[in-house]
């Protein structure tokens, strides 16, 4: 029987209360959102907090708000909430692509976006999605809040810029006209973590050329975005050729490791193929017409 080691439990009544509890209970206090990463880690003694500060009652952190050119998502918004939102599907299709393949519907009822980012597992699908969309993370501490980009938020596997005494309170996604995004994952069986996955977002200029591009990989040993791969797309018309080149560069930027999910060459092949596929869908969704084989760029 797997049971966590003993700890004390407190339920926060507000963000301020959560911050005060974190401070009072010292360095071994951890916040609990959906518990679908933290509790399994505690059962295995991979995490052993003295105190759990449960955020479950903080309805103020469970929201989806369109605010001008931003979509603001509260940290306690669940995977299921994101998937149920037609607005999210329309504005940020990559989020729905990813959510459909994150775990299973029952796990998605509990897991949250704040927990996913806070967990910072290298195979976490939403981390890649946030990278690709150039999301900004709102981190709140007792001194106030700061808003940081993903490159600053990531510190490595299981490590982020959110300090132990702080909270992730919101994730902000820019909403851009003439943009399209997509995510595709290969998994061993339905609901499993990625063998490999790729995500991409494109913004088109008035003349149909690519004005902005970002490409991210999941579980492929790439931290941050595949910048070289995205750079070859800029100023070109979406085409099979340039997407193939971006796929090759993304694969070159990856450094997958062999594990029970597959060998290195297979994963590298996936990096290339999945990058091409997500670029194709992102271009289509951004309103680029049918891709032609040869186009000037």
């Amino acid at each position: 029987m797997q049971v966590p080691a003993p700890f004390e439990y407190a339920r926060a009544t507000s963000v301020a209360d959560a911050l005060e509890l974190l401070e009072r209970h010292g360095p071994e206090a951890r916040v609990l959102a959906g518990g679908h990463s933290l509790l399994p880690m505690m059962k295995l003694r991979l995490a052993r907090p003295d105190w759990l500060i449960d955020l479950g009652d903080l309805a103020e952190l469970r929201h989806l708000i369109r605010d001008g050119d931003w979509l603001r998502v509260g940290a306690l918004t669940t995977h299921a909430d994101l998937l149920a939102s037609a607005q999210v599907g329309r504005l940020l299709p990559i989020v729905h692509d990813a959510e459909r393949v994150i775990a299973d519907p029952v796990v998605r009822n509990r897991g949250t976006i704040g927990g996913s980012l806070g967990q910072a597992d290298p195979a976490e699908d939403l981390s890649t999605v946030c990278d690709v969309l150039r999301a900004r993370v709102v981190i709140t501490g007792r001194a106030g809040e700061r808003v940081i980009g993903m490159e600053e938020f990531h510190r490595g596997p299981y490590e982020t810029a959110c300090e132990q005494h702080e909270l992730i309170t919101e994730v902000r996604f820019p909403v851009r006209p003439r943009s399209g995004s997509a995510y595709e994952k290969v998994e061993r069986r339905v609901g499993d973590w990625a063998v490999a996955a790729a995500g991409a977002a494109l913004v088109l200029a008035d003349d149909g050329t690519i004005a902005d591009a970002s490409i991210g990989l999941t579980a492929l040993g790439l931290s941050g975005l595949a910048t070289d791969a995205a750079a070859v797309l800029l100023g070109t018309h979406p085409s099979e050729e340039v997407f193939a080149e971006a796929g090759r560069l993304a694969a070159a930027a990856s450094s997958p490791v062999e594990d029970q999910r597959g060998p290195v060459d297979y994963k590298r092949h996936l990096a290339e193929e999945l990058t091409r596929r997500v670029l194709r869908s992102a271009a289509e969704r951004a309103g680029a017409g049918a891709l032609t084989a040869v186009q000037g760029g």
Binding site: R11, G35, A103, D104
Partner: protein, 159 residues
């Protein structure tokens, strides 16, 4: 610590350790052994119960987190002698063999039908995709849920 929650319509209050998982609270503290306990790793789904009407894997929730909420277990499906249409459907369509996955499957089915009274096969398969059945091959489970969708009558009698 003290937890208070509504379980199958009745309020219960108990003293528990904060680390007590909801599945063990239901089975050991309350004696409601209808909720099964399998993989312990949030993969098999036999431990699914409804928390505020939403399916949750109770091996991956603390009893403490559920305090103040409403829990429904398989024991809360039937109303006295009147079976829930989902239970009737599992009987009519042989939705179970060994029965190990059945409590979780039935609760997920109940939550699905409450949200979508006429789900098609794809929607049913998606809803139960976080739950494993080693016996039926799922076809009869899907038929059982379809049966329940087609016979909501028991539900009306209850209301």
């Amino acid at each position: 610590m003290q937890v208070t929650m509504t379980v199958n319509g009745a309020e219960v209050t108990r003293d528990v350790e904060p680390r007590l998982l909801l599945v063990h609270f239901l089975r050991d503290t309350l004696g409601l052994t209808g909720t099964h306990w399998g993989c312990d790793t949030s993969n098999c789904g036999t431990c699914v119960v409804l928390v505020d009407g939403v399916p949750v894997k109770s091996c991956t929730a603390l009893a403490a987190m559920t305090s103040g909420h409403e829990v429904r277990t398989v024991e809360g499906l039937a109303d006295g002698a009147a079976l829930d249409p989902v239970q009737q459907g599992f009987m009519e369509e042989h939705g179970l063999q060994c029965g190990f996955c059945t409590p979780g499957m039935m609760l997920t089915a109940r939550a699905l039908l409450d949200r979508n009274p006429d789900p098609d096969e794809a929607e049913i398969r998606e809803a139960i995709s976080g739950q494993i059945c080693r016996c039926t091959g799922y076809a009869t489970i899907v038929r059982a849920v379809r049966w329940a969708a087609a016979h909501p009558a028991t539900e009306e009698v209850r209301a």
